[in-house]
């Protein structure tokens, strides 16, 4: 029967399991888990504080552990696998799709990896070796080998009989692929056209052969863009000689899209890779400290620049009071441009033909912003401190810094991308360094020159 408010239901279920868990009613929890869908158990584990996870995992039926591992995010999964016995890992991964299997194997420490591979049967070892032969984040690593292929010259009737004997199709199969006897890819036939066409026709006569297939080496983000643009449900993956290797399905693409979009946001906050909301404290602190360390260097550089003006500051302490306003506004404005450009690059809007006009546009916005906020801050400061010259100084510094912010916000990600550095990861710090230093120089420098 349809379930009305599934989301609320899931949340309620989670709360109940948590309650039972904290009261130590493990038998009850085990029984509840046995009735939950795999994906809900995965969500429960991901939303459990770190310590609760090991207990939960012990209570999960070993027969479904493999499916749950597939559903878990990489970070949470590797935490759980680290505490599992290698033979149990081998058993849990036995039925995994090739792409998930590769992901799990990649996350294992070397010694455990050898043990896991060693306790697999030869067929699974072969699957594992194949899965690991493609580079991470390529179409090959994302691909499954569960394609159903047919020949072009048979009739639909024959295909229908073949499918009835087969009895089942792999998940997310929306089309069968047509190949010749050398496994050369010729085209595809959708399940819908199999169902709606005259059974006397041949496969060739109904197959789609204007095909955009995916080379096995294509980057997963590009694959995701293609899926998104073409509204695909699955797509064939070919080698350089147009042989069919496998297929990619939309459920894996959804993960790539979510991860890509989140990656930018998390990277910009210096949280790269920390996809686990409830990672242990020490691990989280370690991961975040890199970013804080880099920021400390930026802040110290800014302080170092300010130290040139120590005598100015001792004469006019109001400058010290106002000193953080211009860098702060520059940081925010620059971050707006930076975010826009990083997002534009991620969705493929920015290319060599239009990046010049992007920079001009952001410079124009910077100049316009600069004008507006210069006038405003000048008025506020002039009225607050009753000092017209001070207002002029801060107005000039604001204009210069917002112009610099627009330029830096547009140039930095373009340059970083050319240097193959992830702009989301490094862009923010470099930008803040620029806007801090330009802001302080412009404000304290102009003040020293005009007011002292």
């Amino acid at each position: 029967m349809p379930e009305a408010l599934e989301q609320d239901y899931t949340q309620k279920q989670l709360l109940e399991v948590n309650k039972a868990l904290s009261s130590g009613m493990f038998v009850h929890v085990r029984r509840m888990l046995a009735h939950m869908a795999d994906c809900d158990i995965a969500l429960l584990i991901e939303s459990s504080p770190y310590k609760g996870r090991a207990v939960l995992w012990q209570l999960v039926d070993p027969d479904v552990q493999g499916e749950i591992l597939e559903e878990l995010s990489e970070d949470v999964r590797s935490g759980i696998i680290a505490q599992m016995d290698p033979t149990l890992i081998a058993a849990a991964t036995a039925d995994m799709d090739v792409d998930d299997l590769a992901e799990v194997l990649r996350s294992l420490p070397d010694a455990v990896y050898q043990e896991v591979i060693g306790s697999m049967d030869s067929q699974d070892q072969e699957r594992a070796t194949l899965a690991l032969s493609y580079p991470e984040e390529s179409a090959g690593a994302l691909m499954n080998t569960d394609t159903v292929t047919i020949r072009p010259d048979v009739t639909i009737d024959v295909v229908l009989r073949y499918l009835r004997i087969k009895g089942e199709l792999p998940e997310a199969t929306d089309e069968l692929y047509v190949v010749d006897k050398n496994n050369q890819f010729l085209g595809g036939v959708s399940l819908a056209s199999l169902l709606t066409s005259n059974p006397g026709l041949t496969v060739r006569s109904i197959m789609e052969d204007e095909y955009e297939s995916i080379p096995v080496t294509m980057d997963e983000s590009e694959v995701a863009q293609l899926f998104e643009r073409h509204d695909w449900i699955s797509a064939p993956v070919l080698d350089e000689n147009q042989h069919l290797l496998g297929r990619i399905t939309i459920d894996d693409i959804v993960d790539v899209i979510r991860e890509d979009a989140e990656h930018s946001m998390m990277s910009m906050a210096g949280l790269d890779d920390e996809a686990d909301t409830f990672a242990p404290v020490v691990k989280s602190t370690q991961r975040r400290s890199l970013w804080l360390g880099i920021n400390l260097i930026t802040a110290l550089s800014a302080a170092f620049v300010a130290s040139f003006f120590e005598s100015t500051l001792s004469i006019l302490p109001i400058l010290a009071v106002l000193n953080s306003i211009v860098p702060s506004m520059g940081g925010v404005a620059g971050n707006q441009t930076l975010t826009l450009v990083i997002r534009g690059m991620a969705v493929g809007h920015i290319n060599s033909a239009n990046q010049k006009s992007l920079v001009y546009k952001e410079l124009a916005i910077g100049a316009l912003n600069g004008l507006i906020w210069a006038i405003l801050i000048a008025s506020v400061v002039a009225l607050w401190q009753w000092d017209f010259n001070l207002g002029l100084v801060i107005a000039f510094a604001m204009f210069m810094n917002l112009l610099a912010a627009g330029m830096a916000g547009a140039f930095i990600p373009l340059l970083l991308k050319k240097m193959n550095i992830d702009p989301a990861l490094a862009g923010g710090v470099i930008l803040t360094t620029v806007t801090d230093i330009v802001g302080i120089f412009a404000f304290l420098g102009t003040a020293t020159w005009l007011l002292i």
Copy 2:
């Protein structure tokens, strides 16, 4: 034939069109556009500077304008529609899916909307009214009414014959829905099981009836979470009496997932709604200025707090030099926590059962971070200025501010969510205000007390 490097090919195509466009070879451009896929034309328009778009749009074949409007992002689309004649809009929207139609109609100014509705035929008017009857961002607004339904008591053979007569299935159809004569939803039959089952069986015997369906009022982000968790390709939408209203397909869900994930990132930079990389300068400046205005108030508040310590600053100008370090570190650390919590809420990891342990965890990280960076900054400052007491003062301020940052970063989004305010939009400013003010107070206050 399969196309090897489609992505590169698309980029090359875009560059060629841009070149032809800027040399004024409009006839040539028109011919190129006629050979491009709709989704590629949409990408071309989205990656064109604002002025080029109107020219490009004139060169697009009116027969495909509707499909291209469907592919465009909301922001870019409304810019183009604003320049179109209402009768042309009506013509272009005639073949749209109901959900896209609603989106376009919602973006029209009232007068144009009336004109567009007026120039539609009565069938389209009905479709439009239905589409607009569901609230924006609900399952209803996302849903299409192109379901194919069958009865439970017929045999598969009958269904197969029905489908052959029908001749075509709506896009992304992976299952047919089973309803009784009152349109009450009973279950679904996948195309795969139609193809693999014995034609003599009844629909009832092969239909899936353990169904999680979607209530028409469910929020689109919740719908997306369900799709993601269950790897669905399409799902039925029901009213409160379990009548089938329509279905939602994965291609629309992919858009929701991308938009949701981007929305957080863009909102955190104060770029809410600005999905258009090449929006006109004045419009962009307007949109971004709200955020800059709020930030100016934050920066002025911080300056106001600092102004209490003007006499301290005039005695010890080194305090002015160092004053921005502690707020800066607090801002970065707090932003890490904030981003993590916003993302955790977006993917459904955070609920009332675990938010306490989340806050404790972030407080613990804040304390540990505080300790590390307090010791480090104390050493740097004590050595740089050869002043042990100054080192102690900045260490104390750093510890307090990183503790405050962890607490604020976790509490602010939880509180904002309870108040139904988007944490991604408002969280950052509130957080910065907290870490700026705590940082300045802790540093300058302690310095005034201990060093003066």
